[in-house]
């Protein structure tokens, strides 16, 4: 029994250490840069200029459901994902409205949106919004009946 407990504690400690790489928490993104799902839907349905929509999470999740018109870039928690993001936006005017989103995990655990936002800020983009997805993309977007597309 004691041995089992010790082993679980050791594993939990190892997991905690290994997840410290995910310390880039979405909660640190300023509220002024967040956009709620309902506001984004209203924006997309309005006659205003459409934003560039980028999904910065997993491809398996994107294939199942994503916001119509959004582009898959690759998980921004990885350097290759960030490189693809940089390549995609580097030629754009710095005041271009860009909306990034993920929804892979509960907001505070998302490893992707904060690095993506940091990268766009570092590149000088002044009109970036991060879609605030509290739980996950299924619950907070698909189940709400907002527009969805499937596939690659």
């Amino acid at each position: 029994m004691k041995q089992n407990l010790k082993m679980i504690l050791t594993l939990v400690a190892a997991v905690s250490m290994s997840t410290s790489a995910f310390a880039q928490q979405a909660a640190q993104i300023p509220a002024s840069r967040l956009i709620n799902p309902s506001d984004l839907v209203a924006l997309l349905q309005s006659s205003k200029a459409k934003p560039l929509l980028i999904q910065v999470g997993s491809h398996v999740l994107y294939s199942q459901a994503h916001i119509p018109g959004s582009e898959y870039i690759g998980p921004a928690s990885s350097e290759s994902g960030l490189q693809q993001l940089r390549r995609r936006v580097e030629s754009l005017p710095r005041n271009k409205l860009i909306v990034i989103y993920c929804g892979c995990c509960p907001w505070n655990h998302c490893p992707n949106v904060k690095p993506a936002d940091d990268t766009l800020q570092a590149m000088g983009f002044t009109n970036v919004k991060v879609l605030y997805i509290a739980g996950n993309f299924g619950v907070d977007w698909v189940d709400k009946g907002y527009p969805v597309a499937k596939g690659d």
């Binding site: 939990v12 997991v15 199942q64 892979c104």
Partner: protein, 171 residues
Amino acid sequence: MIAKKLLIAIGVLVLGILFFLRPKHPSQDSATLGNFAPNFTLSQLTGTPLELSSYRGKVILLDFWATWCEPCREEIPQFIAFQRKYGSEGLQIIGVSMDDTSEPVREFYKQFDINYPVVMGNARIGELYGGVLGLPIAFLIGRDGRIRAKHIGAVDISATEKEIAQLLRAK
């Protein structure tokens, strides 16, 4: 003539109601409580195929997870402990990794000495299970192959252990 018009009106009304009640989104209802868990065959990390139906008679905890998902990683040591504690009574945990590539999964599997099979998932199995559009998601499947619980987000470990024990008792 009036009866014909009435029939047409009723038909249109019924079609309208059916249209209104249709399943609207992939995250709804393709794997609902009480229904048989959708069968699938996927490759384990070892390359060996795993077919869900071959575990009929066992209580299954089907865990959709990914290495980049912090809450998923945090609950895996507990799942390892569950497998060790209840495996002999008929519990079988099966991990379905929703990572895009298998390399980080292999590394994680080895690092944490996972004692249950892990298969590589894809969009198809996600849709089969009602849309795995956020992680973790865990399904508890009874010995009869029917879905008995679905947990979106990290599970409550003690409540899940109670559910497992209860399902194991049901022969």
